[in-house]
Amino acid sequence: MSVLIFVELDEGKLKKSSQEAIFYGAKVAEMTGTTATAIAVGQADDSELATAGRFGATKVLHASDTRLNEPNGMAYATVVAAAAQQEGSTVVVLAKSSLADAMTARLAGKLKAGLAANVIELPDLSNGFVVKSSIYTGKAFAYNELKAGIKILAIKKNTITPEETDASATVDSFSPALNDSDFVISVKSTEKATGDILLPEADLVVSAGRGMKGPENWGLVEDLAHALHAATACSKPVSDLDWRPHHEHVGQTGIKISPNLYIACGISGAIQHLAGVNSSKVIVVINKDADAPFFKSADYGIVGDVFEVLPRLTAAVKAL
């Protein structure tokens, strides 16, 4: 009956977003009078997996079949569905990510589950099972009643702030039957920025638009991002012009982020851009045009030249 949480690994370590998912799942378990079980798929040390206990999981199931070494949404969904069946779980929690997105739908199909994506709060159990989710690309919220026997919640970053204890989870090996049909897609090559902070996981984001005038000026953005340990992002025109890679594009047709801090440099703030970032906790806008619409949606603003303001901010961060 336990609440089941899918734990995503990055090079054998629990992703930060998964720590949030475990804590969220443990809270739901508390509310429903049960325990939280995490399911990890792929290679990881038991000692690392046991740290799921710090965020509230009592047990971790670890599926480590070598066929699962590479992330595979279809095969991982099969494993998590099997874990849900073994545990008799009626609530499954995942943190949104490109892997989790690929799994959630397949899981919903397998379990005929009631699914809520982009969940941003703990469920309200006072009248059924109701979760609040972000819709219209952050322009509104929906309260979804999940009526199905099994409920799947895909939570957005910053839905809950995890608290840690020094508890440890037991780790059990889990070896469900795998389907050959889940291994028919072959990944020929993977290209991934290394050493940088992944944008969807980042607490702090420095983003820039056409106001930077050209890709050669991105050093200023990167300097501030490095000083803050922030990820970098960009507006759609910048990605369309190939100044920056597409995976940095935030907005309506790019990725949607909800960091603690979003600093927009030389971005005017079209409604389509706002849609991707408006659930950020704090928004800072730097633009030389005092009439830029983005200032209306900002918490802090500086009217000024990004080429002068950015180096001053970087120096100020370093002096903190």
């Binding site: 009526k147 906790k281 802090y300």
Partner: protein, 245 residues
């Protein structure tokens, strides 16, 4: 090649969203409905593939009669025929069941749609359709080329991308830059009027979720402006007042 493209009819991206009936319905007054921007990419690529290798492109929408202008536009862009499942799209599972029911015996080699609809942004329909049909699903797809019975695909992942090969049939969620959006020309608009648009009733479905009501975000407080020549103050405020750094 036989391609099915599933499209949504959604409020234009510049729409200011409001609700009526005690926050239980979208206020459609003054709202322009468009084809989902991601679906438009899927359709554009489907039409290109048809132009290269022959075949047919069928457009499928789950929606009421008010979605027909969007469907006709898809026909004007180059789809050959269209199917509308006459039902309000209540949730991802419901829509996916309708699509799977249409596709089950129709032997489409590709089932394309946007990576997500821009109303609910769930990004789940393609995966559920694939699961119900027992097919592989891949999303978000940025490049799609077909070589015989194999699809060569570039998929975006966090912080990068991967090159994938998979045998048809496949269900794919699409995004830019898979193709340039197509604008219908006059000839397309004229011929679209006579292309077949079949309306079918939905298959029975058990309701798994229901929206009780909607809410708008609380407005942000007034912006605090900092003079450019005191830019350092911003960092102090973020540290001591907002406490985010």
């Amino acid at each position: 090649m036989k391609i099915l493209v599933c499209v949504t009819s959604v409020p234009d991206t510049t729409t200011k969203i409001t609700f009526t009936d005690n926050n239980t319905k979208l206020n459609k007054a003054g709202v322009t409905f468009i084809t989902g921007p991601y679906d438009d990419y899927a359709l554009a690529r489907a039409v290109e593939l048809k132009e290269q290798a022959g075949g047919t492109v069928t457009v499928l929408n789950v929606g009421g009669a008010d979605a027909e202008p969007v469907i006709r536009k898809c026909l004007a862009i180059g789809a050959d025929d269209a199917i509308r499942v006459n039902a309000e799209p209540t949730d991802a599972y419901f829509v996916a069941e309708q699509i799977a029911a249409i596709a089950k015996d129709a032997s489409y080699e590709l089932i394309l749609m946007g990576r997500e609809s821009i109303d609910y942004n769930g990004g789940q329909v393609h995966g559920i359709v694939a699961e119900l049909l027992g097919l592989p699903s891949i999303s978000p797809v940025m490049v799609l080329n077909i070589d015989g019975d194999t699809a060569k695909i570039t998929r975006e992942i966090e912080g990068g991308k991967e090159e994938i090969e998979a045998k048809l049939p496949l269900v794919l969620g699409c995004q830019e830059p898979i193709a340039e959006w197509k604008i219908p020309n006059m000839r397309g608009i004229m011929t679209a009027r006579t292309k077949p648009l079949k309306v079918v009733e939905p298959v029975a479905n058990e309701q798994l979720t229901a929206v009780s009501h909607y809410e708008l975000p609380a407005p942000r407080g007034a912006v605090k402006m900092i003079p450019a020549d005191e830019a350092e103050k911003l960092i102090q405020l973020l540290h001591t007042e907002a406490k985010v750094i």
